[in-house]
Symmetry: C2
Subunit: 198 residues, 2 copies
DNA sequence: TAAGATATTGACCGAACGTTCAGTATAGAA
DNA sequence: TTCTATACTGAACGTTCGGTCAATATCTTA
């Protein structure tokens, strides 16, 4: 690869990294192009040379995030045998790789806002569906193995999604160990409940 | 009261209602003053005659919401005897009175955003603390009565808060019956868990 | 009814933001 | 070295938005 191509790709990566960090920290709308370029040191025009638009940049980050997440999950999934273990692993990856990932905060802005492009809307709907499908699979697995009680799987998938989204928001300003603790407790509650009658 | 005063108060209420509806539906930033005035039929200047600023309007809505919520809760609290029943009642009120209340969506925007006034920041921190305190009380009550297993109360309060926040987001585009169902299931899971081993 | 207080209007302002573009710098090809 | 495609710059543009204000309408009071 050319020296120029390498440098170009580095710049692209630099912009993407800075943007990801800012989107995650401040949300989509609250992050300005100017801030992103200020964080990279390169110029506004250069950002638009590498990315079609702000939406396009965000979309790129979503895709990247999605690919990374699934890859990392597949890497570690086999370490967990039971569905219960998988659930804790799921929570752990959520916190470790992903605490405050772009989706949680920014996707919501897109869903509600009226300035979204069809392309983004479709992609987001797709991602939420994937999430719910993932949750359903995880839960169904536990039910099949007898770990979890028979129940409304779709409903539980939704509840789990809600829990994860809420946890991400509540933990946004917490440090990693605190967040991990809260996530673990949440999953523990989700799995075992707090009811006394056993 | 004067005819003029009555009309003025009606206008004020009309603006507040429209603003609440829009904030709840679209979030804080995404809702423009122009939209609010368009929804009320009155003018921009008139809004600024009745409210100090956009932030002031939002703050007013938060206070109003808070007062209403607590009043309604106190009204119905005695109907529930056990902590378990209270928890369901809590969820029901959340959905019925409050599905997508201003706090959930907009408070998050304020917390992260850098354009917040100290006054708003303090008020929001106060409200979150109140929420957690409320949750703690509810949970502690259940533990004292033997309904809930002994556990980390502060942590559980945080988890419950996360659950409620997440549920509100997930249910934003659902109808009331669907939302109620999801909330009930979530509380049921929170209370009893999904684990098989009893 | 006249004067004054109160309520309402909408054009306007300045700042912020996403986006564009004419121009410059640089690395590889010829 | 010269030429060209690629990488990059930053001033400028159009739009949006929160907020202001002088003018006007409406109601109360004396």
């Amino acid at each position: 690869m050319n020296k120029k191509q390498i440098q170009s790709e580095q710049t692209r990566k630099k912009i993407a990294d800075a943007a990801r960090h800012l989107f995650v920290q401040k949300g989509y709308k609250a992050t300005s192009i100017e801030e992103i370029t200020a964080a990279t040191g390169s110029s506004k025009g250069n950002l638009y040379y590498h990315f079609k638009s702000k939406e396009g940049l965000f979309l790129y980050l979503l895709d990247e995030w999605d690919r990374d997440w699934i890859a990392k999950w597949r890497e570690k999934e086999h370490l967990h045998t039971t569905a219960t273990e998988k659930m804790y692993g799921f929570a752990e990856q959520m916190v470790r790789e992903d605490l405050n990932h772009p989706l949680t905060k920014a996707a919501d802005e897109f869903f509600i806002g009226d300035d979204k492009t069809c392309e983004v809307e479709d992609r987001l709907a797709e991602m939420v569906a994937e999430h719910l499908s993932f949750n359903r699979m995880l839960i169904q697995q536990g039910i099949d193995s007898g770990e979890f009680r028979e129940n409304d799987v779709q409903g539980l998938a939704l509840v789990l999604e809600a829990l994860v989204i809420g946890l991400s928001q509540v933990s946004r300003r917490a440090n990693l160990t605190q967040a991990l603790e809260t996530y673990r407790l949440a999953i523990q509650v989700f799995l075992h409940g707090i009811s006394q009658n056993k």
